[in-house]
Symmetry: C2
Subunit: 349 residues, 2 copies
């Protein structure tokens, strides 16, 4: 079958990772990426990816900076089947009409509202309902992690309600010199925070409250959950339910992985591109069950976690791979996703 020609509009933290992931898919082709930058952020892409200018002004600056521009965003869209919009928050909503005029299907990111597409996407939860649609929105990093983890417990009929505290990273490493909080914690100014309702756009019946705060670090989010189960369960049952999601990985304090930076370093050591962690990493030996209450802690790489779901979203809109399992398998294998970074998972439980 012919390959899906994918355009990536916005070559930032998410866009550059999605572009790299598209290049690895057997059934996709990267038509190119469009952006407005002309400095070090786009230059390394020039030798690998066709680059287009998102605006006339950008085209001028890019050419002046020696970026080999292939054409305008419209030209990129004309030669593509599906566009992934990874422009900054709230910019994408304005691009929708442009995509529609070009007759393109489109994937938006979690910075946009659910209403922009009427469908919010996490591969394990609702690939099926996105099949053949014109568009979908891959939910944000925190929400993706919530749906993966709580979804896995819900699939095992174990989850009644969930109360979570989210310690978010302050800013991304690449822009930390532009300012960020330091030496403090900033609680979000309302409870519940938006991530709970956002998870409900994918799992409407989820009983969830989230409380969020910004911490003074730059890499990865960290979630703390109190879960009310539907019945008394064992730790093993909870772990087995979580293990059914191929995008949940297990880490352990007993392996010395005792802080966010330990896992970040491990991703460097196992050769991950950009040190990325596409999986939600749950501390296996912190999973604690008391009767019908369970507590768990996990880590979310905000730069990378939505990348596999974005790939699956492309495939769902295309419509030819009809089941989530097949798409997830192709994506997971192409990226090299793992359920355990240090052991053979089957042996671990």
């Amino acid at each position: 079958m012919s390959r899906i020609r994918v355009a990536v509009n916005g070559y930032g933290v998410i866009g550059k990772r999605v572009a790299d992931a598209v290049l690895l898919q057997p059934d996709m082709e990267l038509a190119g990426t469009a952006d407005i930058t002309s400095d070090w952020r786009i230059a390394p892409a020039a030798c690998r990816i066709p680059i287009y200018a998102a605006t006339d002004e950008a085209q001028h600056t890019m050419l002046a900076s020696g970026i080999p521009v292939q054409g305008s965003l419209d030209e990129l869209l004309d030669s593509s089947d599906i566009v992934v919009d990874s422009t900054p928050k709230h910019v994408a909503a304005k691009n929708i009409e442009r995509y529609r005029s070009a007759g393109l299907k489109f994937v938006l990111q979690g910075g946009e509202s659910h209403q922009t597409t009427g469908h919010s996407f996490v591969a394990e939860a609702n690939y099926q309902s996105a099949l053949g649609r014109e568009s979908t929105r891959v939910v944000s990093c925190n929400t993706t992690s919530i749906v993966r983890v709580l979804g896995a417990l819900d699939n095992a009929n174990l989850l009644q309600k969930a109360r979570g505290v989210l310690f978010r990273r302050a800013t991304d490493p690449w822009e930390s010199h532009l300012g960020g909080i330091m030496n403090t914690v900033v609680p979000e100014d309302k409870i519940p925070s938006h991530q709970g309702p956002d998870a409900q756009t994918v799992m409407p019946d989820l009983d969830i409250i989230t409380i969020a705060a910004k911490s003074s670090h730059t890499q990865t989010h960290n979630h703390y959950w109190t879960l009310h189960l539907t019945r008394e369960a064992s730790t093993t049952e909870v772990l087995q339910a979580l293990q059914k999601d191929s995008r949940i990985a297990f880490i352990r304090m007993s392996d010395g992985l005792s802080a966010l930076n330990s896992t970040v370093e491990l991703m460097r050591d196992i050769g991950r591109p950009r040190g990325d962690m596409w999986e939600v990493a749950i501390w296996e030996d912190l999973v604690t069950v008391n009767g019908n209450e369970a507590y768990l802690t996990y880590q979310v790489c905000n730069e990378a976690i939505v990348v596999p779901d974005t790939i699956d979203a492309i495939r769902a809109l295309d419509g030819r791979v009809e089941d989530a399992e097949s798409s997830i398998r192709i994506t997971d294998q192409s990226l090299g996703m793992r359920q355990d970074f240090l052991r053979n998972r089957d042996a671990a439980l």
Copy 2:
């Protein structure tokens, strides 16, 4: 010719990078690595590198943790020609007798004193005098950068004396959870700091004073230099002199590389293993010359910069590659070192 069998004793920040670099050399073979850890720090190596236990106790713990131990440190040494000691500071000095009894040549790292080997090494400066020796010591990250940069200017007969201020990283990312300074700067408690005299172990005639301080960040050092030249010179002359060292790379504020984290992110984007930068990165557009004074600013990746020199040190002790240029070329090509991360260097000047 037969390959040099290299043992790496100590699989930490430097050791793991040296091991990976040895694997890439056409004339070397990695006999294995020895360590005492049995957690996430060593586990990812198990599928790629023969692992040995540095102590009997470690062997016990490693086996209990499922690390496939090949044998003891002595067994590793028995099957090697040269050992790179990358154990923590001041541990290496105690290992020397062991290496000698095993009849091995050995490379120490900059944490040890010059006296331990009687020879301190930076490839561009004194490969020749290490040829066939029993041992040498690769100087520390800061000192390596100083010898590269000041050595390049000295080779062009441009350098009279150098006065530098070094902003060091507080601690390495992997151990930042164990403590480090925050939200402050800690000036070193004596002037001159040790890096100047350390550079003189390689370049004895260098007129140099260094002042150092620890800053609250975790990735890379940052140097600020005032150089007194032997004569009035142009910026172009200074840049051309620096360009002669293949391990000096040029970055630019005008490319948006405006802070340490920008360059760290760029290394992720160009696919460097662990985000490593083996080159000294000089801000080309900050190189400023006023008559016979020059000022420059550069960035040093403390985790990675000594890796290429360590590889060359192995080759120098072995003695079969007799000139620095040949060894440096092999090392640079195997790692993919560059003088410019965004442009073809020849076109840039």
